[in-house]
């Protein structure tokens, strides 16, 4: 009971935020029969602080379907996909080949504005969900990977995209959990997304998609701020924001250490 009460609050809050976007879905109850299904999501927090001993965590996102057809729900025609997208940046993939016996980076491809981290949870396999809207950029296999600049050989595109996905998945920054979204009641669902230990700092985006029989019906997004709070992050910030001071400090530490040791050992 308390869960659904909390969710109603979330739903209300979310619909206020997305009032402009979700006007269609918010048809009052008792309206025309063919109301469009909607989707609301909420997270327990809009900001996550990560201490220095962070070893990865699960982020739980709750959501509710609105105006869902009970019969279609019962036979599992609704699917939900939830993604957590890290800050966007360019990424360069390089390929080595042998030159005069030595392994050298000979080819490269830069993808524009790809998420540094990407975690996806769904009610089942993405490929089984996207049967109609197959072209949507959802999931690691379908996400947009557009190369920038000069592409020497367009035939390599698939090869570099595959390598990018494989390396990101292997490194843990990209993850998928098909089955990570579960319905806790007929219209409430819970999604668990994995935050890897090396999750990047910055504004992440939680996105939820509702599908009915393979067609995208509704989409919601919520920003989620990931703040690294440990001393390590402060050092990293200092190195990037105050590089001159940081450099001077490094040199000072070296001078003090070197000088101090020679003084200490001379007395003995």
């Amino acid at each position: 009971m308390s869960l659904s009460a909390a969710l109603r609050c979330l739903t209300l809050a979310a619909s206020l935020v997305f009032a402009g976007h979700s006007a269609l879905a918010q048809t009052p109850f008792g309206g025309v029969a063919a109301v469009k299904e909607g989707l609301e999501i909420g997270t327990s927090t809009s900001e996550i602080g990560i201490a220095s001993d962070f070893r990865g965590a699960d982020l739980t996102i709750f959501g509710a379907l609105t105006n869902a057809d009970e019969l279609l729900l019962a036979i599992g025609q609704y699917d939900v996909v939830v993604t957590l997208e890290g800050p966007l940046d360019y990424a360069t993939v390089r390929k080595k080949s042998r030159v005069l016996g030595i392994w050298v980076n000979t080819e490269s491809m830069t993808f524009e504005q790809v998420p540094a981290s990407y975690s996806v949870a769904a009610t089942r396999q993405i490929d089984d969900i996207l049967t109609v809207d197959g072209g949507l950029p959802i999931g690691t296999d379908h996400m947009r990977l557009s190369p920038t600049g000069y592409i020497g050989n367009a035939g390599n595109l698939t090869e570099f995209r595959d390598a990018y996905r494989r390396l990101k998945l292997a490194g843990g920054l990209y993850q998928h959990d098909f089955g990570g979204v579960r319905f806790v009641s007929s219209s409430l669902f819970r999604a668990s997304l994995r935050l890897p230990a090396n999750v990047p700092d910055g504004v992440h985006m939680v996105r939820a998609y509702l599908f009915k029989s393979g067609t995208l019906l509704a989409e919601r997004e919520l920003p989620l701020r990931v703040n690294k709070t440990g001393i390590e992050q402060q050092i990293n910030d200092a190195a990037h924001n105050q590089p001159i001071l940081y450099g001077i400090l490094c040199v000072l530490i070296a001078l003090v250490t070197g000088w101090g040791a020679s003084l200490m050992f001379r007395k003995k």
């Binding site: 220095s52 940046d89 360019y90 990424a91 360069t92 993939v93 390089r94 390929k95 080595k96 080949s97 016996g101 030595i102 392994w103 050298v104 980076n105 490269s108 830069t110 540094a116 920038t148 570099f160 390598a163 990018y164 494989r166 390396l167 990101k168 490194g171 090396n198 440990g230 390590e232 992050q233 050092i235 990293n236 190195a239 990037h240 590089p243 001159i244 940081y246 450099g247 001077i248 400090l249 490094c250 040199v251 530490i253 070296a254 001078l255 250490t257 070197g258 000088w259 101090g260 040791a261 020679s262 050992f265």
Partner: protein, 306 residues
Amino acid sequence: MTVYLPIAELSVNIFIILGMGAAVGFLSGMFGVGGGFLITPLLIFYNIPPVVAVATGANQVVASSISGAITHFRRGTLDIKLGTVLLVGGLLGATAGIWVFSWLRSIGQLDLIIAILYVLLLGTVGTLMLNESVRALYRAAKNEPVTLKRPGHHSWVHRLPFKMRFKKSKIYLSAIPVVALGFCIGVLTSVMGVGGGFIMVPAMIYLLRIPTNVVVGTSLFQIIFVTAYTTMVQAATNYSVDIVLATILMVAGVIGAQYGVRVGQKLRGEQLRALLALLVLAVALRLAVTLVVTPADLYSVSIGSF
């Protein structure tokens, strides 16, 4: 116990880093070298990104050279004027080196060039040193007197213009080869993270004919300023100096060096040099292997458009 390195962005075992610092410090105290040419490859072997290893190596050399420089300054075996001329070249070289470093990084060839330079440099220096020390050992075994080669007279180096008088070194020498030597060492400092003493000292003795007593002190003087400058410029342009890694290495290194000096005084010079030569060759060989062996994954990803 693991410690997270904020710039290298990975967790490492603190005892391995301490051990590395202490071992290189011990060797640098024993052989009288800065240790940058050992610490940087060791960090790369331990999966520290070469960008961070080089910049942090330069920082570590500042600490390992300072006490030696102070000692030479007190003893009066440091030619400040000569050191300053070397330093002018060194700062120019380090600036050029940083530019090359950033450019290599942007085209994705930095790791390769660092490895190749190390293989070439360590391979050459190691071979020369081994050759020289084995000959010396052979001579000592046959009880031949050691003849220090100082083939005198003037080479082409001494016919160059812009001559300057260096009172402390008691020489009258053109500034051109001094600045040029400083420049080359400066480039090595910023691209490889070494102090460059192991090249500068022989070059000053054999090429420039600078009296041996001022050579070490003067080269340390140049090394401290060039490595300090490189640390700051690396921090400002590539954000690649890891203060946590550097501090652990430096603390372990300076302590190790004190014990290294004591052991070094008990061993014979040519034996020491033969040992160092073997060590240098082993590092070069290990790096050469990584260049040739097929990597586990031909692909790599880096963040950013470079």
